[in-house]
């Protein structure tokens, strides 16, 4: 038998150095995304400097750069997000509840599940074509906000479903048992125990989904949101445009001033996005931390 000192070579210094190296690697991985984002933001804010003012926010688009504004696109985006949310959130959560709480494990169930994952990966332009066929033509909704919102809702639906499913799965089984043992029906268990506990996780998915929807242009192009409109939509059946399409429209113009205006539009888009996410994050934090495993 050898002595301990002869068979172990702890090399603590080397191991500690490795610890530090990996910590730096992981930290710099964060810097990649963050620094590019900051660079981009810096450039956009600089480009838009002087153009982002009240006149810009309260005016309609124009051929003349100094008169151009983004008002209809702001309304269009906000309305579109409301319709998208009203459609995708209840539908997505209801689908997730069915898949997690009601459906029996079967081949058919896993077939549905795989297809939900697949739907999340379909190029967004395909949703645009789908929306054009189903909502604009078949349901005769026209090139309206409603058609656009429903199309966008379909696009983000898989994300909402999958994240809601994960949130539901994270609710401890012991809580469901507690409810059943008190004579709760399935729906009472879902409504009063599962949903309240899963809500914070669901909100995370909703944030992701709406953040994606707010920046999408491709699915709205076939729907016909590209129109250069000079009115604010008054009903869900009116035509509309949204921020990313308006921005895209400006970047494709030859005059240099319009590039600055596009930058100003991007800043507006980011502000709307941040406002929307802040609300969701506020709600999530309000409900989070109530459930802890014992």
């Amino acid at each position: 038998m050898s002595r301990r000192e002869d068979s172990f070579f702890p090399n603590l210094e080397g191991r500690k150095r490795l610890d530090l190296i990996f910590k730096l690697v992981f930290f710099s991985a964060n810097l990649v995304g963050l620094s590019v984002l900051l660079l981009l933001l810096g450039k956009i804010v600089r480009d838009s400097w002087g153009w982002l003012d009240m006149q810009f926010i309260t005016s309609f688009p124009s051929r003349f750069p100094e008169k151009a504004g983004i008002l209809p696109a702001i309304y269009g985006t906000v309305y579109l997000m409301i319709i998208t949310a009203l459609f995708a959130i209840p539908t997505g959560i209801a689908a997730a509840i069915f898949l997690e709480e009601y459906a029996k494990k079967s081949k058919f169930l896993s077939f549905i599940q795989v297809n939900v994952y697949n739907l999340a990966g379909i190029p967004s332009i395909v949703y645009g074509i789908l929306g054009l066929t189903v909502f604009v033509r078949w349901l005769n909704l026209g090139r309206s906000l409603l058609a656009g919102g429903l199309t966008m809702g379909l696009l983000v639906l898989p994300v909402v479903i999958v994240t809601a499913q994960e949130a539901i799965r994270a609710v401890p089984e012991s809580l469901r048992h507690a409810a059943y043992a008190l004579g709760a029906t399935k729906w009472q268990t879902v409504r009063y125990v599962v949903l309240p506990s899963a809500l914070p996780g669901m909100l995370t998915g909703i944030i992701l989904a709406l953040s994606r929807a707010i920046g999408e242009t491709a699915p709205l192009i076939p729907i016909g949101a590209l129109t250069f409109i000079r009115t604010i939509p008054k009903s869900p059946f009116d035509s509309f445009t949204v921020l990313p399409i308006q921005i895209y429209n400006w970047t494709s113009r030859p005059q240099a001033d319009f590039r600055a205006i596009a930058a100003a539009g991007i800043v507006v888009l980011l502000i709307v996005l941040i406002l929307m996410n802040s609300i969701a994050i506020f709600l999530r934090n309000k409900y989070q931390g109530r459930i802890k495993e014992i």
Partner: protein, 251 residues
Amino acid sequence: MSMESVITIRDLRVSYKDREVLKGINLDIYGNKITAIIGPSGCGKSTLLRCLNRMIDLADGARVSGRVLLQGEDIYSPKIDPVRVRFKVGMVFQKPNPFPKSIFENVAFGPRINGYKGDLSALVERSLRLAGLWDEVKDRLTANAYTLSGGQQQRLCIARALALEPEVLLLDEPCSALDPVSTMRVEETIAYLKERLTIVMVTHNIQQAARVADYTAFLLNGELVEFGETSRMFTVPKDKRTEDFITGRFG
């Protein structure tokens, strides 16, 4: 025996797929007594308990045959809704599982979902008193249940079950996640409760059965080896296997 049997179990068999975990159990649970079910891990004692309020229905692929009569009525009859059974037979689980709600709301949950029309605050207070928790929580009923200690949480779960005024209370190793002091408090609570209802308790802890149970059932490999008064069974066991188990030779 001439005592009233609240639950009568006849030839109860449970199997998961091809594996039979309960092999024809016959057992009488007497009213206003504490019956302990003991046995080594995997002997089927938790399964047996779950058959008594049809929580077994929630287990994937469990098949039940035989009869369980609750006050003379077969709870496995197709006419009986499991939700009704659970309304009459309360259950407390191994790990405390309060809802992420306030202390008050936890106790009020059962009455609320079952359409209680009386004075809810009075019912909550009564249930918490029965569970021996009222004095500790009366000033913070709106606090989240997770702010309580593990032992308090378990007594809260007992109070939650009592709020439905059940006829039978099932306890599935209620102290296995608790420290000795909390265990003692829960045992006191249980002993106090048998005045009002019938208690069936699964325990891993032989001493606990000896301390609190009036009757003890010893289960081994899905079969009931011996059943009788605890005092008799722990002094003069009839079966050699019972003797080996309670003296700690296996299990």
